[in-house]
């Protein structure tokens, strides 16, 4: 579980995050949503420890990040997996080398043990046979799956995803979303996903955290998103034509 308490963060005098407090539960897909510029990415980078908070704190299973030594912070980061928006695969390495990389860096496994683990994870994300290809030789959807495989290969306790299905066609996006949800449940990971895709919210969201202008505007269970009176949330949800039409139909009693 990740607990965020009164988190503030800014750059060059501009406040980006303004007193965010929330929790992200283990074994659930927690979604951070909001419009562009609402502070989602900065929030996610604070959760990853890439940005230190100006005020407030973030605790990982009871351990406050601010109070950790550099070695402890490094150990904690090794328990985190991250799927970047652009996949961030190492382009000089093959698919298998990318997935193997965290194992080589952080485990004392033998070569055969690492090979077995890489094959197991690649099989889990349906990428058998692509192990010798370079990232530039595979599709965007496959790159995302490699990024997920790399993120989970060391059995992380926390999985973070920054807009994991951006730039993907709707069908592939659903495959990626479902894969993340399955892995979250299968390995009991605390998953935090940054998205502005309402399809993802409906497909895999459990807890939803809505940011607006750096404030936590609203948070609740996914089922509450269509019942809330919060204007900012309804504006965001019904900015999608599909959901707008569903809403109009609901109001007309159809």
């Amino acid at each position: 579980m990740i607990e965020v308490t009164d988190l503030h963060k800014g750059f060059g005098g501009t406040k980006i995050l303004k007193g965010i407090s929330t929790t992200f539960e283990q074994g659930k897909t927690n979604l951070i949503i909001g419009t562009s510029g609402s502070g989602k990415t900065v929030f996610l980078k604070c959760l990853l420890g890439l940005y230190g908070p100006e005020e407030g704190s973030i605790s990982y299973d009871g351990k406050k990040y601010n109070g950790l030594s550099d070695d402890e912070k490094r150990d904690l980061r090794q328990q985190m997996g991250m799927v970047f928006q652009g996949s961030a695969l190492f382009d000089s390495m093959t698919v298998a080398e990318n997935v193997r990389f965290p194992l080589e860096m952080f485990t004392r496994q033998s070569n055969s043990e690492m090979d077995d683990r890489v094959n197991e994870v690649l099989k889990r994300v349906n990428l058998e046979g692509a192990d010798n290809k370079l990232p530039s030789q595979i599709s965007g959807g496959m790159q995302k799956r490699v990024a997920i495989a790399r993120a989970i290969v060391t059995n992380p306790k926390y999985l973070f995803c920054d807009e994991p299905n951006s730039g993907l066609d709707p069908k592939t996006a659903i495959v990626i979303d479902n894969l993340i949800k399955e892995l979250t449940e299968e390995f009991n990971i605390t998953t935090v996903i940054n998205t502005h895709d309402m399809n993802s919210v409906m497909e895999i969201g459990e807890k939803i955290v809505f940011l607006k202008n750096g404030y936590l505007e609203w948070e609740a269970d996914k089922t509450q998103i269509f019942k809330t009176d919060n204007e900012a949330v309804t504006d965001f949800v019904y900015s999608s034509n599909l959901f707008k039409k569903v809403r109009e139909a609901q109001l007309k009693g159809l």
Binding site: R77, Q78, F84, Q85, A88, L89, E104
Partner: protein
């Protein structure tokens, strides 16, 4: 902490990318510049009292003292320096450096340290440049009919001061450090997108060249004057 096995692989890869891949261009330039130095010297020897051995002597001195360590380093600032800046800069733009940080890896150490170690091999490249530069002078001088083989070789051996080699390799080591660090700095700390990667590569070439020229002047002033 980068694991020893991974670090070793990275160093080997960097040696291949930075040194081995530069062998061809360094050999090509060294040979022909050495040849041109010999021809220019020969063409300017209009006084019959000046011995022809001077062609070999001038080739050796210019190649060992300046051409091989300094001129090749400026060329390497363009070739290797741009490569380092653009590869690290692209990793920054595509969040690969963030990915390393998230994994708990010291990205600066992971990306720059192997390059510094790999460039310790750089003096070998300069030694090859020295040999080929003098060999180019020999070929152009002898086969161009400017000097006999014996005269050229006598000139090459004449008044040889071993300290010149120490001076030359000492500054080569310092240039190697500059070649690894300045382009890495410009790549690692760049901000922006693909356009900025190009701009950072150009800036890194300019600053590496400026640093090499200034350091060359300072070392020469200290050690040879």
């Amino acid at each position: 902490m980068t694991k020893r096995k991974v670090l070793w692989k990275l160093i080997i890869k960097e040696v291949d990318d930075l040194i081995t891949s530069s062998l061809g261009i360094v050999a090509f330039i060294s040979f022909f510049i050495g040849a041109v130095v010999a021809i220019q010297t020969a063409l300017n020897l209009t006084d019959p009292l000046i011995p022809k051995e001077l062609i070999g002597f001038a080739s050796r001195q210019s190649v060992i003292l300046e051409f091989a360590p300094t001129f090749i380093s400026v060329i390497m600032a363009g070739k290797v320096g741009s490569f380092i800046t653009s590869s690290i800069g692209t990793m920054r733009v595509t969040e690969q450096i963030d990915a390393l940080e998230v994994m708990g890896i010291n990205s600066l150490n992971y990306l720059v340290f192997p390059k510094i170690i790999a460039l310790l091999v750089y003096p070998f490249l300069i030694a090859i440049a020295m040999f080929l530069g003098i060999f180019g002078g020999y070929v152009a001088g002898v086969y161009g009919g400017f000097v006999s083989s014996e005269e050229f070789m006598t000139g090459v051996r004449e008044e040889f001061i071993p300290f010149h080699l120490i001076y030359s390799f000492l500054k080569t080591f310092i240039f190697a450090f500059l070649l690894a660090t300045i382009p890495s700095f410009h790549g690692y700390y760049m901000k922006g997108g693909a356009l900025e990667v190009g701009k950072a590569s150009t800036t890194s070439f300019v600053w590496t060249t400026v640093a090499i020229i200034i350091v060359n002047y300072v070392i020469t002033q200290i050690l040879l004057s």
